[in-house]
Symmetry: C2
Subunit: 469 residues, 2 copies
């Protein structure tokens, strides 16, 4: 495991706040070791740093009350959704109170005419889509986990549909948040666009809970398309697949999804999901549109793929076949783990300009092989974002060190290509040094904003900003 | 004309800075009354407040040098693009130095494979599209004026294509800016998406030059569609037209443009552009896609329009017919002025959830009639944004007062409908009281950010934030 630095604790304040909150929230304030451990970070290779207590508010006013009490005593507040983030976002390096919003899980209003929904932050993306289905609507952003919408907003999450529908930054219309002083603000009205003042919505989206806790979210929705089809195509090389992706995007084909699996990932999928795909780089696509439109999109892609040596092209509008393929894609994490039974997966998350993608993916695969790492690659390649999954024994310090070296090397490579160390997972604790490499002087202004809004650094301390700022 | 409050001047500082800049920039520092007046606000009904000098930098380093000198002497810096903004954004209520970026007009790099362009802020949108045309690319955002891209980013501009392509917030990938202390920062890399830290890109987009001066912009581009078609349809009422818009959006028709002209605007267009459209509310549409796709889109819209009493539906793929219609739309400002020769036009800019649009537009027309104002309406109705153009004699205090009352009434109405006082023009000086009504407590955090980044309030003072903060 990777050590996360502990920060100085305010033990007296924490004790006082815990007592006040216990009095106020009774059983909705928990201090047992097991629940605290669950609320420290468990889905990462960073050591678990438990909060001192976990509180379960049920309303914005309760969140505001909790934050005011914590602010008064300068005690850390760590927002918690489903705990599925990957970079130590919910760890409590200075202790403090984990604010678990899972009981704030109401869908407050669906405005079908406006294609938007207002909901509490504890609603998960699958709950939302289940709820919307009967109304012919859906919310497209789909990170791997069944994350909470509050968490997804906070990490600026995306997933396989981002190439068409954008990321959380593009799909949050407005937020209500409790600021570090306990005040409740709304960042925007429900209008589709606005030039009214600083864009606090997008300042809070991706702020990882360091500037406030999101308590209500207004999201854009999409109508379920008239037709959905999918396609797959095998390629002789990662480079050929990436060339086909670039051409598809340039040609303006409005693909809803375009995912790359490298040969190793395809092998893993074949074994795990009982498929018999050629074990060479594969593109998986999905098209949304009218009946005629999706056929046309698939044909256009098929032609482009042919130009780059694509083979075994297959398109289908059958729901069953489509589900089977995409289920295999969604199970890639589990399938990959079977490449080395007993190992843990450490996911990288770089994103580069699409013109550099082939080079970056290829270099990544070569470097992993050179270092003796088993490291299948999947990518949201329409956006230039890919994940190398390092399969290591987390208890073996040599392997952890090797993985750490690889992650650093890949982040540096992506940054040198005008890319980012994180396309969708966020900075958290794990990527703080790389943020500094990536954006340099800009960090100072981020730190100034943080200090202005949260002078006592109580909101999710130890995340995003390098400790030197 | 509407008075804009003057702010306290730092005469000694301004004198010193002007002398230093004159020495350094020679003829690129101008202090003549006429050039200063051109750089105070001229495209608004707010009184002109001239800067003390205008400087024409040619590089980021020169901008940084200017800002450092101004920062040292606490002298206001007012960024200037083309001066086409509408809410007093370039006025100098405390005097100071107008930084005119018109000589920073280079397109630095087109990355066709990545569909992006890197350019200096003085490039105008028409210059950019002229430059891109041969490469089969275009930049979709089209405010009425041929504005500079720096100004468009600063006001979070949009226009007729936003329903499909989004606003400047969605189309700026990264910025380089000179911050209030003179430091040069880059807000993001060129990757299509990122979760790396606070979204400084979107904090600066729409900040109206109050947090820094944009010196370089990376914009997303689009491939010129294979086919473009347009359509028009007349409706018995604004309500019927808006119902058709809502259904079109809900149905997922990817319209590139969907514009409303009310009956008065149609009459003005008929007279000015020599058309013979039925003088009832009109929708003008444009479709982008494949040959088959644009035909299908037009057909789908035609069916929807029919359900809401649409008549005189006409679709065309002829470039000539299309240009004629859209030219008429682009000339609406001039056409409308002819409804009352000699009058000036004052544009409102509210944006409401689309479900409230019909009600808001209808109420706006009724109110104007009741007040005896001539006030044609055009709207980017796919986004719920519309402009009532008040035709008044700016030298007649009664008419100005009446217009002021109307603007306030409409802004309040839009805000009460969960809408905004500005969909795309920005706050500037003119809308500051409404920002407070619209977002209440959020303003305090905007002010805190401003104070943290610009403690001496030198960057475009007197804009966005209410003076009480």
């Amino acid at each position: 495991m990777v050590q996360a630095t502990a920060l100085p604790r305010n033990d007296a304040g924490i004790e006082t706040v815990t007592a006040i909150l216990k009095q106020r929230f009774s059983d909705r304030l928990q201090t047992g070791a097991s629940i605290r451990e669950q609320h420290g970070h468990t889905t990462t290779w960073i050591d678990n740093q438990m909060p001192d207590a976990v509180v379960f508010p049920q309303s914005t006013d309760e969140v505001a009350e909790i934050v005011r009490i914590c602010a008064e005593h300068k005690v850390p507040v760590i927002p918690f959704g489903t705990g599925t983030s990957l970079e130590g976002h919910v760890n409590a390096p200075a202790g403090g109170i984990s604010v678990d919003v899972s009981q704030m899980n109401k869908i407050l209003a669906v405005h079908a005419q406006d294609l938007d929904v207002v909901l509490q932050p504890g609603v998960t993306r699958e709950e939302l889509n289940m709820f919307l289905r009967d109304q012919g609507l859906f919310f497209p952003i789909d990170p791997g986990a069944n994350a909470s919408l509050g968490g997804m907003a906070s990490t600026r999450a995306s997933g396989t549909n981002a190439v068409r529908y954008g990321t959380m930054k593009d799909n949050v219309l407005a937020l209500e948040a409790v600021m570090p002083d306990g005040e409740i603000v709304r960042t925007a009205q429900r209008a589709k666009k606005s030039s009214a003042g600083y864009d606090l919505t997008r300042l809070l989206v991706g702020a990882e809970g360091t500037l406030g806790i999101i308590t209500e979210i207004t999201l854009k929705l999409q109508g379920i398309p008239e037709a959905i089809s999918s396609a797959r195509c095998s390629f002789p090389s990662v480079d050929a697949a990436c060339q086909a992706v670039m051409m598809t995007i340039q040609y303006g084909v409005p693909v809803a999804r375009i995912e790359l699996l490298d040969a190793l990932s395809v092998a893993a999928a074949n074994a795990y999901s009982k498929l018999d795909l050629p074990e060479t780089p594969l593109l998986l696509l999905e098209f949304h549109g009218s009946e005629a439109g999706v056929v046309e999109q698939a044909e256009t892609f098929g032609q482009i793929a042919g130009e780059f040596g694509g083979s075994d092209f297959a398109a289908t509008t059958s729901t069953e076949e489509r589900s089977k393929l995409w289920q295999a894609r969604h199970d890639m994490y589990w399938a990959s783990l079977q490449l080395r039974p007993g190992a843990s997966g450490i996911s990288t998350d770089v994103c580069v300009p699409i013109s550099r993608l082939a080079e970056c993916v290829t270099a990544s695969a070569e470097k992993a092989a050179e270092m003796g790492l088993i490291a299948p690659i999947v990518g949201h390649v329409g956006d230039g974002n890919f994940h190398t999954l390092l399969l290591i024994d987390r208890e073996n310090p040599d392997e952890v060190a090797k993985a750490d070296t690889f992650v650093g090397w890949l982040n540096d490579l992506a940054i040198s290509m005008d890319g980012t160390c994180t396309g969708e997972h966020g900075i958290g604790q794990g990527k703080r040094p790389y943020l500094e490499k990536e954006l340099g002087p800009a960090i100072r202004y981020m730190a100034a904003i943080k200090a202005a809004l949260d002078p006592d650094n109580i909101m999710n301390p130890g995340k995003i900003l390098p400790s030197s700022t």
